[in-house]
Amino acid sequence: METDYYFRMGATHSVCQDYAAAGHTEERAYAVLSDGCSGEAKSDPGSPHTDFGARFLVRSTLYHLPDLFDGDFPLQKVAVEADGMIRQTRLSRLAMDATLLAAVKSGRYTRTFQIGDGVIAGRTRSGGIRYFTLKFGGNMPYYLGYTLDERREDDFLAKAKTVTRTTNLYTPGEGWGQATEITEDIIDFKICQQHLFNHEEYDVVLLMSDGVESFMRKGTTTSIPLETVLEQVCAIKNTQGEFITRRCNAFLQRFCAENGWIHNDDFSCAGIYSGPLVP
């Protein structure tokens, strides 16, 4: 079993507002990632200091890993813990405007949790890729901090209105299938989305901020399809140690440089390799 994480600042950012952490023992593994809203510190009404907020949310989640291993994401406890850190540093609660993704592996499954946007991908042992994304109406993702502020949560519900869940599968030799999109009313939406990846079918599970959807060809406005980017990010050649750092470095520094791809938004990835199948 291995875990690793990676985060890099986007081309249009002056500070990286993504953050990630990962770790494992022989039996259990975790990966946590947060993507701070791209607001400048001095802007109004942007969300200031979300680089701090992203880190606090990740740290706070790490304190509550036992709950995650039990299959429950303790929304209120994580939010309150992070809010305490925010208050300690005398920042605005707006700093908590950050998405939160987590994965824990215990036994035969890796379970993922998602609050807000971002991408979750599993690499099958046969080389396929299954991904899940969330898109909120008005590009306003849900932030955990809203659970502590009824007014902001109401405002979010009134403005976002809908959420769209997308999933697709890449099969070696066949390519990508037709993406499945389900749009639902935000009122019916469960704040924390979960997915289960069976260890027998999937060897790697990756969490990614929505920066993975911000790749473009340099000098153009042509977006690179998420599927094309995922093929690169998931092409992990060796799962030993810093397997995500190696893949992301090679992807960003070599492949993107050679092919003229840039990522405008911060890009982060954290994940778990669940190890070989033991008969």
Partner: protein, 246 residues
């Protein structure tokens, strides 16, 4: 007998075709590595100060083992006399038990300097290319320690330069720093020979130690360990490190 008999894999170097060994790449956990290729003269003329050369290698590696970058260093050690011998292939410096290095030189015979240089550079470039193909970032530093002129090599000085160019042009390594160290160089003709070989062989720097005294060895240890450390810090920067002053 090689210093370590472990489960290293055998590789065949591009260019010269020398065989070399290295730890199985799939077992390497870091994302970036600096390859350290060191080759030491074991010709009969180094007999009076062979233990000083050994000490120079041991102390330099020891200093690197204390560095924060130790987990990102892979070292390969050669000795050259009448034959070029791989004392150990590329292996994590942290796993190099330096007590095993005592007495590895066993001087005697001629000086296959050029063969050792080509072997060191080609093996590094080949291993580096394999690392990069597996998504690792890699750069390298070559350290050749000799007290005299080549005798008996099948390669010539210009082949060393060609090997350096192959390593730099084939995208095998992000960058390469090459150091030629003349030790106990007392004769002006040898000093001139080694200075000329720096240019003909394409080395980045030639440093000359007039003797093998404890003070000189300490200075060399400092130079070598700092050079390795600087090159290691330069990995993933796109270019080589600045050369350290001797």
């Amino acid at each position: 007998m090689p210093i370590f008999s472990d489960d290293a894999e055998t590789f065949k170097a591009n260019g010269s075709g020398f065989q070399f060994s290295g730890v199985n790449i799939s077992k390497l956990g870091a994302s970036e590595y600096t390859l350290v290729g060191a080759a030491c003269d074991r010709s009969s003329s180094v007999t009076p100060f062979a233990s000083e050369i050994e000490k120079c290698v041991i102390e330099s590696f020891k200093a690197c083992q204390k560095s924060a970058r130790v987990d990102n260093l892979l070292a390969r050690l050669l000795a050259f006399g009448t034959e070029v011998t791989e004392e150990h292939g590329f292996r994590p410096l942290a796993d190099c038990h330096l007590a095993n290095y005592d007495g590895f030189l066993k001087p005697g015979g001629t000086t296959k300097l050029y063969d050792a240089c080509v072997d060191t550079v080609d093996a590094m470039a080949t291993y580096g290319k394999d690392l990069i193909s597996q998504d690792y970032t890699a750069n390298g530093i070559v350290i050749i320690i000799t007290d005299g002129a080549d005798y008996g090599s099948r390669f010539k000085a210009h082949h060393v330069k060609e090997a350096m160019m192959r390593a730099r042009q084939s995208e095998s390594l992000e960058s390469l720093v090459s150091l030629l160290i003349g030790i106990n160089v007392k004769e002006p003709s040898i000093a001139q020979y080694l200075k000329d070989f720096q240019g003909e062989g394409g080395f980045d720097k030639y440093v000359e130690a007039a003797d093998a005294s404890a003070k000189t060895i300490a200075k060399l240890v400092d130079f070598i360990s700092k050079s390795i450390s600087m090159q290691s810090q330069a990995v993933n920067s796109g270019g080589p490190s600045q050369l350290v002053t001797f």
